[in-house]
């Protein structure tokens, strides 16, 4: 690659390794044809709904599909009859009429109109009205609240009742996406931290975003709602069966829009209570980690993990970035600049400031909102001492805590 002319280099950036790709495509074509004949894993309708809204939506959808299929068949049966009967080649003589004449024809011209009026506003309109009212009633008898925040490109979940919060990120390995490794069963629909919700409880879901608009969607819930930066939107679910339910972000939100799944695990109430306790203990342990003094090796190990999860999508695992949108960290002025001011304060637009507060108008988000003191300290330390950067310094979680 280094011998490439700079222009070709840019071309190569747009396309991913062109040669193996074409080979992969060719083998994929053969495989694809074979597997579609053999497997035929087709679904023709919504996945099985597990909430009252989902069931309602499916039955409405089924009813509508019957209505429009009947309309389609009847209307085009008339047309096809005409196409067969009224052909020039069979010697048909064209009629001369250009509109309804007489009461009888007017009657027949208005009948379809009346039928459609009935379908629109009675047959479809009335169930639709009730479904909308039901769908928007997020507050009546709500048992608990889940707050969902969309971030580029992951979801943050908060349980205000128990103080639990965590970020949920895609775990599908890069190798599976790039095709060098076989794809797993839940390819692209698997995360590190699943949202756990109790079965049978009405959960009021509040949605917002920190950067661009995202849409939270789990098909089996029949629920889809936008997460809008600066505003709260809401919806609700009452999951009726235990299980794992998978969905995705549904609003184009930038480069990794296709890689921010939603995974919800619905469990019986007792199990949910146990999960809440376990999560609380974990969080307490993590908070305690913020007060101790970490060694360089500990920070570097923790930092690599955190970097790969939170930063590598844009800045790439090797720190080379994807300029110009996503700058390189290797040799970056910001990363190799001073850590903090001599008084131990944030340097505006310095390394720590950028990681904690982000850069407005870009995909670089304010990580202080989603990452713990330990994570931020570890990632900053890791970035300063990797990809050829050799600053040799480090920052402690306690310092980050003081800078918040």
């Amino acid at each position: 690659m280094t011998t490439l002319h700079p222009r070709l280099h840019h071309l190569a950036r747009l396309f991913r390794d062109p040669l193996p790709a074409s080979l992969r495509l060719a083998s994929g074509l053969a495989l694809g044809l074979a597997s579609s004949a053999a497997l035929a894993d087709y679904t023709w309708n919504f996945p099985k709904p597990v909430t009252p809204i989902g069931r309602d939506t499916l039955s409405m959808h089924n009813q509508f599909m019957v209505i429009i299929t009947v309309l389609f068949v009847v209307v085009f049966a008339i047309m096809i009859y005409s196409m067969v009967k009224h052909r020039k080649s069979t010697g048909a003589q064209p009629a001369k009429f250009s509109g309804p004449t007489g009461a009888f024809q007017w009657f027949w011209a208005l009948v379809p109109f009346a039928i459609l009026l009935f379908i629109d506003f009675v047959l479809m309109g009335i169930p639709a009205f009730h479904a909308v009212i039901d769908m928007e009633d997020t507050r009546t008898k709500a048992d608990m609240v889940l707050k969902v925040t969309g971030l580029q490109w992951k979801w943050k979940y908060e349980y205000p009742d128990s103080g639990i919060q965590f970020v949920s990120t895609l775990t599908t390995p890069r190798e599976q996406i790039e095709g060098t490794e076989a794809k797993g069963e839940h390819y692209l629909l698997e995360v590190d931290n699943e949202v756990v919700l109790p079965v049978g409880k009405k959960v009021r879901i509040l949605l917002t975003s920190t950067d661009v608009i995202h849409t939270w969607w789990v098909p089996q819930f029949g629920v889809k709602r936008d997460a809008i930066p600066g505003f709260l939107r809401e919806t609700w679910v009452r999951i009726e069966e235990p299980g794992v339910y998978r969905g995705q972000c549904a609003e184009l939100c930038g480069k990794d829009h296709g890689f921010m799944p939603v995974v919800v695990r619905a469990v019986p109430e007792a199990e949910y209570a146990a999960w809440v306790d376990k999560k609380k203990t974990e969080m307490a342990a993590a908070a305690a980690g913020g007060d101790k003094t970490w060694t360089m090796a500990e920070l570097m190990a923790k930092g690599k993990d955190g970097y790969d999860k939170n930063c590598a999508a844009c800045h790439q695992p090797n720190g080379q970035g994807l300029p110009p949108a996503f700058p390189a960290l290797a040799g970056s002025k910001i990363v190799t600049g001073a850590l903090l001011s001599p008084e131990g304060k944030l340097i505006p637009d310095g390394h720590v400031d950028r990681v904690m507060n982000g850069k407005t108008g870009t995909a670089m988000q304010a990580f202080k909102a989603t990452l713990s003191d330990v994570d931020i300290a570890a990632i900053v330390t890791y970035e300063r001492n990797s990809f050829g950067n050799t600053k040799g310094d480090m920052i402690q979680p306690a310092q980050i805590k003081a800078l918040r």
């Binding site: 694809g32 196409m83 909308v132 069963e185 661009v212 549904a250």
Partner: protein, 532 residues
């Protein structure tokens, strides 16, 4: 009138115009400008098509094979902008330029210089839209607009220079469309042949009159919206930034106040030409001329007040949800009138099935699917499931490919002999029709099921359960794309030569345009015909 035509023919032979490239740069002749619009449209149709074939190739199987997600996002958005603004709209304007003066007995468009300018704004606009792709090759910027054609803030505020290029391109395209619309309205209102009352005006002209009014009402709103986006990006305003007191959803309101009528802007000219084609090949008068005129107007008015159904999942208040649901459903009523009139025009005719008629029938059936799925999409609760999914992608391609592009092809096959004086190859035309219809359904029918199964739109990679339908869709898309080369070849051959077309061209034609020679003289209707 026949004698008048004859002398006109004679005069028309002595067209005074420069030759070579200067002729096309300086022309104010409606036929020349119409030809340029159609040529530009065909060219951009292939540009937009090539982009989406790249996308379909990437989606052929799960995993990232060909491109990075950033580039994928650029292709989908620019594909849509090119197809809408540079392929479909210019095709409709090309029809208007060619046919409106011939149909209403006018010597030319009312504002010929504006007409020339309107066209020549298009190539620079298309260039602006696609240039960031080329600039990226030279290391300038990070490619074209990657936000989808909807340019939703704040994603578009984050984007690179591609967004700025798209904003300026939209401004120029908008100016071009507004100029074209003013010209068409001025022509239709002032230059109709004596005796042609508004109600006697051909339906194609009526379709365009409503389109032109819609364009003038809605385009300034889009221009305002993207200008606000531009100032948010570069001049520190906060129209769409909640932190500064703005609202991201405001952009969606502004965009779709234009975006929904835009659908009818693309379709009304097609709905206008359809009855002429049906009447010709059934050898029977158009059924319900008045009813269709009033339906066009009703659709135009309703089209302006239903925009928020494009973002029903954004969390609108319940009264707004109900209002936008019922108003959207009510559009089915005037549309049903159109369907009724089309089928009633065919009823008890003496039909023959030349290529334009085949495309017209294909249009009616497939556009019917678009209309019916649109009806269920209006339902707020069901929409929660369909929205942002492939169900919507399939729906609007049934509307805009089967409704828009196939409608344009109906018109091209129908009028091409009039324009060129030659018949196209009927055999190739029919082959093109069957390949198009079959591969179109192969491409987009599976996308309905993908959407129902839960596949979101605009993703470069997908979960394994979506693999089969995506593979089928990609195969369909490639056949569909390649079949269109047949169309280009057929048109080219027809322009170059072929069997001589008569003045009437088709047995069942009726209307002023068919009383001129084929091809019509360079200047026609210098003496206006009189309509009784």
């Amino acid at each position: 009138m026949n004698t008048a035509t004859h002398t006109l023919d004679h005069h028309g032979d002595h067209a005074h115009h420069p030759t070579g490239i200067l002729r096309w740069l300086t022309t104010t002749n409606h036929k020349d400008i119409g030809t340029m619009y159609m040529t530009f449209s065909l060219l951009m149709f292939f540009v937009g098509g090539a982009m989406i074939l790249g996308v379909r190739a990437e989606l052929f199987q799960p995993g990232l094979q060909l491109m990075k997600p950033e580039f994928f996002n650029q292709l989908i958005g620019v594909h849509a902008l090119v197809m809408i603004f540079a392929a479909l709209m210019p095709a409709a304007t090309g029809f208007a330029n060619w046919m409106i003066p011939l149909m209403i007995g006018a010597p030319d468009m009312a504002l010929p210089r504006l007409n020339n300018w309107g066209f020549w704004l298009l190539p620079p606009a298309a260039l602006l839209l696609t240039m960031p792709f080329v600039l990226a090759l030279f290391g300038i910027g990070d490619g074209a607009v990657a936000t989808g054609w909807t340019l939703y803030a704040p994603l578009s505020i984050q984007g690179g220079i591609g967004v700025d290029f798209a904003i300026f391109s939209i401004h120029i395209l908008g100016i071009s469309s507004i100029m074209g619309s003013i010209n068409i309205i001025a022509t239709l209102l002032n230059m109709r042949a004596p005796g042609m009352t508004l109600m006697k005006m051909p339906l194609f002209c009526w379709g365009w009159l409503v389109t032109a009014v819609l364009l003038i009402i809605t385009l300034p709103v889009l221009a305002g919206g993207v200008t606000m986006l531009l100032t948010d990006r570069h001049f520190g305003t906060h129209f769409f930034n909640a932190a500064g007191g703005g609202d991201p959803i405001l952009f969606q309101h502004l965009f779709w106040f234009f975006g929904h009528p835009e659908v009818y802007i693309l379709l009304l000219p097609v709905w206008g030409l359809m009855p002429h084609v049906l009447s010709t090949f059934t050898r029977k008068p158009i059924y319900g001329h008045h009813a269709q005129v009033w339906s066009f107007i009703a659709i135009g008015v309703l089209g302006l007040i239903v925009w928020a159904h494009h973002f029903l999942t954004a969390g609108l208040p319940v009264p707004a949800l109900l209002y936008f649901m019922y108003s959207t459903m009510s559009i089915s009523l005037p549309l049903a009138v159109l369907f009724f009139c089309w089928i009633a025009t065919m009823w008890r005719g003496a039909m023959s099935f030349e290529t334009p008629m085949l495309f017209a029938i294909g249009f009616i059936v497939l556009f019917g699917i678009a209309g019916l799925t649109g009806l269920v999409l209006a339902d707020v609760a069901a929409d929660a499931q369909y929205h942002h999914s492939y169900f919507v992608v399939a729906h609007f391609h049934y509307a805009l490919f089967a409704g828009g592009i196939m409608g344009v092809m109906t018109g091209v096959y129908y009028w091409l002999p009039k324009w060129t004086g030659h018949m196209y190859s009927e055999k190739l035309g029919k082959l093109h029709f069957w390949l198009t219809v079959i591969s179109f359904n192969l491409t987009f029918m599976p996308q309905f099921f993908l959407g129902l199964a839960g596949m979101p739109r605009r993703i470069p990679d997908y979960a394994l359960q979506f693999a089969e339908f995506n593979a089928i869709s990609t195969v369909g898309a490639f056949v569909l794309g390649l079949s269109q080369l047949l169309f280009a070849y057929n048109v080219w051959k027809c322009v170059k030569g072929g069997e001589k077309a008569s003045d009437k061209v088709w047995e069942g034609t009726d209307g002023l345009e068919w009383k001129l020679s084929s091809p019509p003289p360079y200047h026609s209707w210098e003496t206006q015909p009189v309509i009784k």
